[in-house]
């Protein structure tokens, strides 16, 4: 273990641009990774940051209108489910969104579900469901519904679809609380903008919001930690001193493929979730791998076994039911395995020591 830490410290101290990827870890692990990346002038990116990056950029350009899962399940009378992403992220999502019992809810409408371009699935009992699909692609359907909600004139050849879209638009206007549910990883930024614009139109006369599915692997928790640490989300570089964010330039996989990065710290240590390593990640670019699972690594890679957060040790991670960071107790009792935070702090201390020597 100690020699592995030493080798890791040597490898990283010599790196010109180390990338911290994977980051399937708890908030403490993320904080330690951020501290080390800052020390070394590296880059941080989470393996499931494609959605959070898009959402972050849309937000800082024009804002956001999030609702917590709790508010949606207790108060929304109309849920617009966009695409397959949300139910792929959480197969019980609709049960959660339409519970049997709820807090006092605005308006007198019965609850209704509008599904845009998603595979047929079980819909909640007693909830009227309307499906918008036909031959149109998802972005078109979102745009059509947005136009209908805003009462903008348009023509669509598919008369049956047009009728449905107009009726759905009317329903949105007459709802007491409309919530659009999506996974930002599945949608392109213009679609996110269209949804946001629709919400911003609706709130002039009623209540509306968005429910964005959280990223796997504590992607949202790691992202939040990055923001309170350096003011910026995933895909941030500390190479220039002041942190700089760029969702294209500082994507881990691109930096590894292009050869700009010359070392990788790969972290995969969360119970029940697996971060798939970037293509060729472990080939050619020296890596320090912190994993709670068996790892196929290159000969020169440094592999350090760590405990799985939420299994081997208590873990603070993003929990969708509270729409925030909560604590999950270790499921398998006390473990002697070090945490990601322990290991990264130790490596940081070794680098300091070597630097001072």
């Amino acid at each position: 273990m100690d020699s592995a830490l030493d080798r890791a410290a040597d490898l990283l101290a010599q790196a010109r641009l180390p990338v911290f990827g994977g980051l399937f870890t708890d908030v403490n692990g993320a904080a330690a990774a951020l501290a080390l990346a800052q020390k070394l002038g590296g880059v941080i990116d989470h393996a499931a940051s494609s959605g959070t990056s898009k959402a972050a950029r849309v937000m800082r350009e024009t804002g956001s209108t999030p609702a917590s899962l709790g508010e949606v399940r207790n108060r929304a009378d109309t849920v617009v489910l966009i695409g397959d992403g949300p139910r792929e992220r959480d197969s019980k999502l609709l049960e959660k969104l339409f519970p049997a019992k709820s807090l006092p809810r605005p308006g007198d409408n019965k609850r209704e579900l509008i599904v845009i371009r998603a595979k047929k699935g079980k819909t909640p009992k007693g909830v009227r469901t309307m499906e918008l699909d036909g031959k149109h692609a998802l972005p078109d359907l979102v745009a059509l519904l947005g136009a209908a909600a805003r009462e903008l004139p348009f023509e669509v050849r598919d008369a049956a679809l047009a009728k449905k879209v107009l009726s759905a638009g009317k329903r949105l206007r007459e709802s007491a609380f409309v919530v659009f549910v999506y996974d930002p990883a599945e949608l392109e930024e213009p679609v996110l903008h269209t949804v946001l614009e629709t919400v911003r139109h609706l709130v002039k006369s009623t209540r509306a919001a968005t429910l964005s599915m959280s990223a796997p692997g504590n992607g949202d928790g790691v992202n939040l930690c990055s923001i309170w640490t350096c003011g910026l989300p995933m895909r941030t570089s500390f190479a220039g001193g002041a942190p700089e964010n760029n969702m294209w330039a500082f994507e881990a996989e691109r930096l590894l493929k292009s050869g700009e990065a010359d070392a990788l710290v790969w972290i995969d240590a969360l119970d029940g979730a697996e971060a798939s390593p970037p293509t060729r990640a472990f080939r050619g670019i020296p890596a320090v791998v912190l994993s709670s699972k068996p790892v196929k690594a290159g000969r020169d890679d440094v592999v350090i076994e760590v405990g799985a957060a939420a299994a081997d040790h208590d873990a603070e991670i993003y929990l969708p039911p509270i729409a925030g960071i909560g604590v999950v107790k270790a499921s398998s009792g006390a473990s002697k395995k070090p945490t990601v935070a322990d290991v990264l702090k130790e490596i940081g201390a070794l680098i300091d020591k070597k630097g001072a020597a």
């Binding site: 800082r60 609702a67 007491a176 309170w228 002041a242 509270i322 935070a341």
Partner: protein, 545 residues
């Protein structure tokens, strides 16, 4: 180790001290001059001003809402720096780490985060634990949550259960006190109300804003929590709202209350533009209600971002967003609104807001009840406090600013007629002694033996902006952490909280509530010692009962 701060002018209003003398420090505390012992370390501070470390009673430095603000507005420090505001042009400049350093450099040693969300208390504590040097505490927000409202449902007030619930929430979130933000207003927003007054009823629950605040005052008093309910009242920022503030004060019936960022309620509706200073009327009421304390929420011109659990107000305020982007976050309890804002010197309204805040300070009979704040970042970034100290202490500086305001604002403002200049002792009251007293943190805000050795040393000079922007020397718990305005030792402070007792039955009830309505287990958001890896992170402030 015995440390002597030798020969400075010691300003310690809590002990009626303003005289040249020495201050002794040992084992992290202020001590009497020990007879017959030579100090191990002497700091010659002759010609300097020596005060207790400053305490900020209301500054949004951590938690979901602040981080939502950082997400919306990462460029805030860059814009502010470009305008000449004293902040580094880096997104990290309003991150947790920089927050601790900058506060310490100004001589602040304790800061209160005033809006922890119960279900997100872990994030707030995680962030606070990443803020170095200073001590911190959080106030937890209730009053728009369905559990509370259900207990206060018209005619069915179950006060014992409310008492247990408040105590449980304070303990579960490791909070120092209770915050109430637009009581009932955020809940009404969920039912599509867009305004909410003191005596309006919350839909479905029937209780009024006044009823919620009264109930919370009673509960907090019964629990013996030292800090009274910290209340952000209704109608923030609206012309004519001084009536609401006065009515809220009348409604307290003499029970203790702390009204936050009162400047935002100091507005009359007179004159051609329907907006005028309500400061004289407001201060008449505050001067009269001796059990009320306030912090001011002073504004300064320039770019900032407003972050608030008053979602109803922020929703309305979104139209004034500058830059044009905003967040409305609809969640359990209050939710959040984040609206960037740039206070303009040339704006009639902004200029009056600036003047009203200063009037409030300067018209106070009793500065022990009128505490310093900008409601950071809502009125101004905390890094700008020294500019406000300057304005309060120097009427020429005030006149210089005043003369640059629009004529229409100058004509209706009474500020020019006020010649008062705060003394160093008075400044120490509003930034040290009074906050400590109001928070029940008896071991700070003063320099009597036994107090924690949080000490700030400044070079006395006419330019108070310069004087207070960079302390010569700051001790935190007896350690030198700042020299010549720069942090020289990154230490880690404590987090203070109360721990009132409650009937354990409340646990079951709260668990059942969260399970039924949220599919969640309250243990997920319970704050424990392990939220920080610094040893002895938490310290308890005792409740009276």
């Amino acid at each position: 180790m015995l440390v002597q701060l030798k020969g400075g002018r010691v300003i310690d209003p809590a002990n009626n001290r303003d005289a040249v003398g020495d201050v002794y420090v040992e084992n992290g505390r202020i001590v009497e001059k020990p007879a017959g012992r030579k100090p191990d370390e002497v700091h010659d501070v002759s010609g300097k001003i020596v005060m207790a470390g400053a305490i900020d009673v209301h500054s949004h430095i951590a938690g979901t809402n602040v981080t939502l603000g950082r997400q919306l507005m990462p460029e805030l420090p860059l814009i502010a720096a470009a305008e000449g505001q004293p902040i580094l042009p880096s997104t990290a400049a309003w991150g947790a780490y920089a927050t601790g350093l900058r506060y310490a450099e100004m001589g602040y040693t304790t800061v209160i985060e005033p809006a922890m969300i119960p279900t997100h208390a872990i994030q707030a504590h995680k962030e606070m634990a990443s803020i170095p040097v200073i001590d911190v505490a959080g106030l937890v927000v209730l009053g728009n949550d369905d559990y509370t409202l259900n207990l206060l449902r018209k005619g069915k007030a179950k006060s014992d259960e409310l008492k247990d619930y408040v105590a449980w929430t304070l303990a579960h979130s490791k909070a120092l006190g209770l915050k109430v933000i637009n009581a009932g207003g955020s809940e009404a927003f969920k039912f599509n109300a867009r305004t909410f007054d003191l005596d309006e009823e919350v839909p479905e629950y029937g209780v009024t804003s006044r009823g919620i605040v009264e109930a919370m005052q009673k509960v907090v008093a019964d629990l013996g929590v030292p800090h009274p309910p910290h209340v952000h009242t209704n109608n923030l920022g609206i012309a004519g709202n001084v009536e609401t503030a006065v009515a809220t004060l009348e409604a307290t019936q003499g029970h203790p209350i702390h009204l936050a960022h009162i400047q935002f309620y100091g507005y009359g509706n007179e004159g051609d533009k329907g907006f005028s200073s309500g400061a004289p009327a407001l201060m008449e009421a505050i001067n009269k209600h001796k059990n009320a304390t306030v912090d001011v929420g002073q504004v300064l011109f320039g770019q900032t971002v407003t972050i608030s659990g008053d979602i109803l107000r922020q929703f309305d305020g979104r139209r004034a967003a500058n830059p044009k982007k905003w967040v409305i976050n609809q969640a359990e309890g209050n939710g959040t609104g984040v609206v960037p804002y740039n206070y303009k010197r040339k704006s009639f309204v902004n200029a009056l807001q600036w003047a009203i805040g200063l009037e409030i300070f300067l018209l106070a009979d009793d500065l022990w009840r009128v505490l310093f704040s900008t409601d950071h970042p809502n009125g101004a970034l905390f890094t700008r406090y020294p500019e406000i100290f300057h304005l309060l202490m120097d009427r020429d500086e005030r006149a210089r600013w005043f003369d640059s305001l629009p004529e229409a604002s100058r004509q209706v403002s009474g500020l020019a007629g006020i010649s008062r200049e705060l003394t160093l002792s008075e400044l120490a009251i509003i930034t040290r002694a009074a906050p400590a007293k109001v928070l029940g943190m008896t071991d700070r805000g003063h320099l009597a033996p036994g107090a924690v050795a949080d000490v700030a040393v400044y070079t006395d000079q006419k330019n108070k902006t310069k004087m207070f922007a960079a302390a010569d020397l700051v001790f935190k718990s007896g350690n030198v952490v700042v020299r010549k305005g720069t942090v020289v030792d990154v230490t880690w402070g404590h987090c203070f909280h109360v721990d009132p007792g409650f009937d354990s039955q409340i646990n079951k009830r709260v668990c059942s509530f969260y399970d039924t309505y949220y599919g969640a287990d309250p243990s997920w958001f319970g704050v424990t010692e392990t939220v920080s890896d610094h040893p002895d992170r938490f310290a308890t402030i005792r409740c009276a009962s």
